[in-house]
């Protein structure tokens, strides 16, 4: 209880620090900057913090903290705009939000979805902070109790959500998850450094594919292309129903779901090494499992928005524990945050084990600044959501070129290679076909996101376990089957059991009609072909690097088996069976006035143009041509929109000090920024 006796005075000191007008002013400034930066998918927090770094040197610690925390806190809030309105997952924290948020926007309920999401975010943030205030005092031993077997089990729990999201055909979902896992293993292996499906002659692939690119390719591109082909607004019939008050009411009606998901968020966020990648899927799975009528999931169920959004802001609070107590960053932005804290004031605040002893008041200030920033950010976002939701009533042809512009830029920032754009295009193609043939895209993405943790934790836990077993059998068993692991195994088994029963009623892609055999079979063969190639490639890694080959072999073998069974089923079943689901047979896609390839060619032209003349010049050409030819806009309108797009791009990139993809032209002549 001694800890709590020091905690109360520290807590009141913290509030005295926070509640100064100038501190609040800096917090609001940070929040506003964070919201502005948050429009770039996958870039937000890191770009924003890097921008602030030069000002941190010697700054009054509490002011610097207010500014930085204001910025970091709102990124998982502001990227909700992109996930709900455009179907673009802004970060790993908002992937699951896309599943139901975007269909709601398509139904014209964007404002409702947004405000439900924001209310949940706000609440999650506050629950997280309250929980942390007590928990942080006792967190250290609990965090240390999570060893490698425990982390592996949490990762597997996340992976088990595939069972819920597998779609109508469990086998297809499993194969999609397997494909995601296999694509996640591309590149240099963490453990032994063997190359998988890559070579040193193609250095791009040795680093593996980035989550931003895969997220954008799998979710955003198929949706953008589909809407563009239909030449309509996001909200069908350009009608807006459901105001922002409805969303808040929805949240209130589901407040217990929100509480539970917030707790899930904090607890998983506390564990270092997992980051946010699993939290929102676990929360989404939980939301599905606790809903009686599951038929609306994937089609715009508000509980599917409330669950993940409650967890992702709470997770940010949880992520402070490893960051502050161990000096181990839970995410990229937290890593910069640690570096920046060292620059503050006289450098006396040392993030790490001493933080609780020496700076408990600062620790509490950080926790509650985060909560307060959530409040400010959410209020601003809710206020804006009604207006911003109107974007969904604009004819999509006028939005699409700007979205292509944004996602290309975001993809390039992840690795600063021209190949980033190519990778985005290729993954986008995979996404388009997964969608078309009703293979679960969420399952694919979960597989990809968890590929690295699964492999890493499996290898490391196995190595340490065998080390313990060599000492004694008891020690080994004790290590693998700790109480936490056993609890997690039970949760996983229960969730898989119920998940499989429910999966059939959750149709993320809607009711897809089935057509002829040819196209689905060809797609299956292509997937199986890739899996086989990757399998053979992995089997060629020498045996002394067993750690680098065992996961690709096991997963690849399993996914191939799924494909094989699917193949047999496809041969046995008649045409028109649900296994041959194909969006091009009937529905929105089939009736669309524009074809897939001609629409995709526009995006390809932007990439090809970039290859020759660099991004900005290519963008000028792309925007003008698109507005004139595809949208049929008048010259003044075309030029105005193009100028607006270019100006926005240059302004943001200039402020964030980012470069654009250069082309061959830039290799020959020196051009001034932004053309260089």
């Amino acid at each position: 209880m001694e800890a709590f006796a020091t905690a109360l005075p520290a807590l009141s000191d913290a509030w005295a620090l926070i509640l100064q007008p100038v501190v609040l002013g800096y917090l609001v400034l940070g929040v506003v900057m964070g919201l502005a930066v948050g429009v770039f998918p996958g870039l937000g927090g890191i770009a924003g913090l890097s921008l602030l770094l030069p000002f941190m040197f010697g700054m009054d610690p509490i002011l610097g903290l207010a500014l930085m925390i204001g910025m970091v806190a709102v990124v998982p809030t502001s990227d909700t705009f992109a996930s709900v309105l455009m179907g673009i997952p802004g970060s790993s924290a908002s992937q699951a939000t896309v599943l139901d948020g975007f269909p709601m926007a398509k139904k014209g309920e964007a404002a409702r979805a947004l405000s439900a999401a924001f209310a949940s975010s706000l609440f999650g943030g506050l629950v997280g902070a309250t929980f942390l205030t007590v928990f942080i005092l006792v967190a250290r031993p609990i965090v240390l109790a999570f060893g490698l077997p425990e982390m592996l089990m949490i990762t597997i729990l996340g992976l088990s959500m595939v069972a819920v999201l597998a779609g109508r055909y469990a086998l297809k979902g499993l194969a999609a998850a397997g494909l995601g896992l296999m694509i996640g293993t591309i590149g240099e292996a963490d453990a032994g450094g063997s190359l998988r499906m890559s070579s040193y002659d193609l250095p791009y692939l040795t680093d593996g594919l980035k989550l931003v690119i895969v997220g954008l390719g799998i979710f955003a591109i198929p949706e953008i292309v589909s809407l563009l082909r239909q030449d309509r607004s996001i909200a069908k019939g350009a009608q807006l129903g459901g105001g922002w008050l409805d969303g808040v009411r929805d949240w209130f009606a589901n407040i217990w779901l929100s509480v539970r998901c917030s707790i899930i968020g904090v607890v998983v966020g506390v564990i270092p090494g997992l980051g946010g990648s699993v939290v929102d899927w676990i929360a989404y799975g939980h939301a599905v499992q606790t809903t009686k009528d599951k038929s609306n999931f994937g089609k715009g169920e508000v509980r599917g928005v409330i669950g993940p959004e409650s967890s992702n802001n709470a997770k940010e609070g949880g992520g402070l524990v490893p960051t502050l107590l161990f000096g181990i960053p839970g995410s990229g932005s937290m890593a910069i945050f640690i570096g920046a804290v060292a620059l503050l004031g006289s450098g006396s605040i040392e993030v790490g084990p001493g933080m609780l002893k020496n700076n408990l008041d600062i620790t509490y200030s950080i926790v509650w600044l985060l909560a307060l920033a959530n409040v400010v950010g959410t209020v601003l976002c809710i206020a804006a959501s009604g207006g911003i939701a109107k974007l969904t009533t604009i004819r999509f042809t006028y939005l699409a070129p700007f979205l292509f512009m944004l996602i290309s830029f975001a993809a390039f920032q992840s690795g600063q290679n021209f190949e980033d754009l190519l990778a985005l295009f290729v993954i986008g193609l995979i996404g388009i076909f997964l969608r078309r043939f009703d293979w679960s895209r969420p399952a694919f993405l979960i597989g990809f996101v968890l590929s690295n943790p699964v492999e890493k934790f499996t290898n490391q836990a196995f190595q340490i376990a065998s080390f313990r077993f060599r000492k004694s059998f008891d020690q080994g068993i004790e290590y693998i089957f700790s109480p936490i692991v056993i609890v997690l195994i039970v949760i996983t088994v229960v969730s898989v059991f119920f998940g499989i029963r429910q999966a059939k009623s959750i149709m993320a892609e809607g009711d897809v009609k089935a057509g002829s055999k040819r196209a689905p079979v060809v797609f299956l063969l292509v997937i199986a072909g890739y899996l086989l190639t990757a399998f053979i490639n992995a089997s060629m890694i020498p045996d002394y690097n067993m750690t680098d080959k065992v996961i690709p072999l096991v997963i690849g073998g399993f996914a191939l088996l799924c494909c094989l069974i699917l193949m047999v089923q496809m041969m046995m079943r008649p045409e028109g069976d649900a296994i041959f689901a194909d969006k091009e047979v009937a529905g929105d896609e089939a009736d669309a006035p524009y074809g897939l390839w001609s629409t995709l060619a526009w995006f390809a032209s932007l990439i090809a143009g970039t290859f020759f003349v660099g991004f900005i010049l290519a963008l000028v050409g792309f925007l003008i041509a698109f507005f004139r030819v595809r949208a049929g806009a008048s010259w003044p309108r075309t030029l105005l929109l193009t100028a607006a797009g270019i100006a926005f791009m240059c302004l943001m990139a200039g402020a964030l000090n980012r470069d654009f993809p250069p082309g061959l032209l830039q290799g020959m002549v020196d051009l001034p920024w932004p053309l260089k």
């Binding site: 999570f146 060893g147 040392e350 790490g352 190595q463 750690t547």
Partner: protein, 362 residues
């Protein structure tokens, strides 16, 4: 020439130059310019911290007080950024590039991705660090200044990879006859420390700043036992006690006390060569090939002014650790020490990596 005479000469030169270099007259003016300091790692690593610490100080010290921004170009363990920098030429002196031990080791080991040549670049600043190895309490009780009683203990160590800076501790432990099994694939030394704290690993090492921040407390609480530092180099290139940790013995002392460990010969020379390349000269700042002397002098003077700040020892030790900082000709000499590893040492390490860990850099 043997490694020790070489290092001695280089270090003597390095120390002399650092002391003698006269401040250059600043004719170059950077008013209104933006200097880009490119770091071939992500925003989150130690090199980012290092550059972010120096950037505002450098901005103040350069004539015309230009804005200094740190840019990140991660990829392929820093070889991507270094390959890019190799193609850059002098423009107006607004490009600076930072490397670390992780850039030096692939260069020394002949990694096939390396397309860069350190000797083409002009170093303007170099800084180093030390490292401390420590054991868990139980096995630490068997440590008596030698590793004699540790040779039949099984150790497990969270490692970032045998071809990285971890090469230095792994080789050292092997020379002591200790059986250390690395668990590869962790992302940073902080994760290694966490693995140690959870009791999954029972041996660990941290760089000086990491040790001070996270591990020293465990040692003070009796939860861990400090084993040895890698040491530091004196003016003659000899390994002496690390000035940051004068109470902890060096690897050299422990090796001398341990049966079967030699502080001479091929194995020792190889270890020492890679230690020198990875620790005393760990991070370097470069101007691109073909930079004229007046620009080099301007940067040298600026970094000298930074180091000469009255508050520099204080702020630097708190923010980036007590690193010795070399500028100008001192940095040039430091580069020599860091990158001129004798072929025999390279060959020994390449063979050892293959034999022990199956790593082949092809």
């Amino acid at each position: 020439m043997t490694i020790s005479t070489f290092t001695r000469r280089a270090v003597v030169g390095l120390l002399a130059a650092a002391g003698l270099a006269a401040p250059a007259t600043a004719e170059v003016d950077f008013s209104g310019k933006t200097i880009e300091w490119v770091i071939p790692f992500s925003e989150t690593g130690g090199s980012a911290k290092w550059a972010n610490f120096f950037a505002p100080l450098l901005s103040e010290a350069l004539p015309g007080a230009p804005t200094v921004v740190v840019k990140f170009m991660p990829g392929a363990g820093s070889t991507k950024g270094a390959n890019w920098f190799q193609k850059e030429t002098h423009d107006d002196g607004t490009l600076l590039f930072g490397t670390s031990g992780s850039t030096q080791f692939p260069y020394l080991l002949g990694d096939p991705r390396v397309r860069y040549e350190y000797n083409d670049w002009t170093p303007v600043m170099a800084s180093g660090t030390g490292g401390v190895a420590y054991l868990n309490a139980e096995d630490g009780a068997k440590f008596d200044g030698s590793a004699n009683m540790l040779q039949d203990v099984d150790f497990i160590y969270g490692s970032q990879g045998a071809t990285r800076l971890d090469l230095v501790p792994l080789l050292a432990w092997q020379m002591l006859g200790m059986n250390v099994e690395p668990v590869f694939g962790i992302k940073g030394r902080g994760d290694g420390r966490l693995m140690f704290e959870r009791g999954e690993a029972n041996i660990d090492y941290q760089t000086s700043s990491g040790y001070l921040k996270g591990s020293a407390e465990m040692v003070a609480d009796g939860k861990a036992v400090a084993m040895m530092t890698w040491g530091s180099l004196d003016a003659d290139g000899n390994i002496v006690r690390d000035p940051t940790f004068p109470e902890i013995a060096t690897f050299k002392e422990v090796c001398e006390a341990t049966d079967g460990c030699e502080t001479s010969g091929e194995q020792w020379d190889a270890w020492k060569a890679f230690f020198v390349a990875g620790f005393p000269v760990q991070k370097l700042a470069f101007l691109p090939a073909g930079t004229p002397q007046d620009v080099v002098d301007t940067y040298t003077a600026a970094f000298e002014a930074v180091v000469a700040r009255a508050d520099f020892p204080e702020i630097s030790s708190k923010r980036v650790g007590k690193y010795s900082v070399f500028t100008g000709a001192g940095a040039q000499a430091a580069l020599g020490t860091a990158t001129n590893v004798p072929d025999s040492a390279k060959a020994y390490v390449i063979n050892w990596l293959k034999e022990s860990y199956g790593v082949e850099l092809k």
